[in-house]
């Protein structure tokens, strides 16, 4: 069993390394992530963000603009997830004051 898991780990490790070798270099203009038009022919949203973030929101840090403005829903969801996780842990761990005899 242990030999199988080690073999699986090694196989997937080699696959990941091979896949990384196939990635385009950083900043390559023709890489799919850098192009303004996707392979399917539709415009890429990132190009709009880079060109218009400063103009739209008067904020030089375009990461902030994307996070809090263009993708505001997403950030609201993230905050809600943190809040709900905290609330769930609180409800699970909260033990009533008179429950010490039960434990």
């Amino acid at each position: 069993m242990k030999a199988i898991s080690v073999l699986l780990m090694a196989t997937f490790g080699v696959l990941v390394i091979l896949a990384v070798n196939e990635l385009p270099p950083r900043g390559e203009p023709q890489a799919p992530a850098s192009r303004s038009v996707s392979a399917a022919g539709s415009p890429v949203a990132a190009t709009y963000y880079i060109l218009n973030a400063l103009k739209d929101a008067d904020t030089p840090n375009m990461v902030t603009v994307v996070l809090a403005d263009y993708r505001g829903y997403d950030t609201l969801g993230e905050l809600t997830v943190i809040f709900c996780a905290g609330l769930a842990v609180l409800l699970l761990l909260r033990i009533p004051k008179n429950a010490s005899s039960v434990r």
């Binding site: 103009k55 739209d56 929101a57 008067d58 904020t59 030089p60 840090n61 990461v63 902030t64 603009v65 996070l67 809090a68 403005d69 505001g72 829903y73 950030t75 609201l76 993230e78 905050l79 809600t80 943190i82 809040f83 996780a85 905290g86 609330l87 842990v89 609180l90 761990l93 909260r94 033990i95 004051k97 010490s100």
Partner: protein
């Protein structure tokens, strides 16, 4: 109940460091428009500064700065500030979370969006900080003394 640390060095250094951590956390939140940072990071630092005080000077003193009971109300307030900004924008005639529609007279849409981002990041900071501290207080609670 967490007692103050026995070591004078820990108590003094903790009390000395906490205000600087808090100032830097506020800077991280407020300067998120121009540099890396924002509500999540700044809120985590604000929470960590309170945890530092909890661990160094004990709960009795650090509860004066941030009472344990404030955890849940403040984290709810953080979410409500974020959602409330969206609703105000909705009331101002725009889409939900469209800060350009915030009903403040005499401000350009770009400036309004900048302001909306700041408000939203403040809500995120409050929520993250309060959740951090609330969870810590819950886990550090001593059941014997209750």
């Amino acid at each position: 109940m967490l007692r103050p640390s026995d070591s004078v060095i820990v108590v003094v250094v903790g009390r000395f460091m906490a205000p600087f951590v808090q100032i830097f956390a506020l800077y991280v939140i407020a300067h998120g428009h121009y540099s890396p940072g924002g509500g999540f990071q700044g809120g985590a630092m604000l929470g960590a500064s309170v945890l530092l005080l909890r661990l160094c000077v004990g709960e009795r003193l650090s509860h004066r700065m941030f009472p344990s009971g404030l955890g849940v109300p403040l984290s709810s307030l953080g979410v409500l500030v974020f959602a409330g900004v969206g609703l105000v924008a909705l009331a101002g005639g725009g889409a939900y979370l469209d800060y350009a529609a915030l009903p403040i007279a005499g401000m350009a849409p770009a400036a309004l969006r900048s302001l909306g981002i700041l408000l939203v990041e403040t809500g995120v900071g409050i929520g993250v900080m309060a959740t951090f501290i609330g969870l810590f207080d819950l886990l550090a609670r001593d059941h014997e003394s209750e």
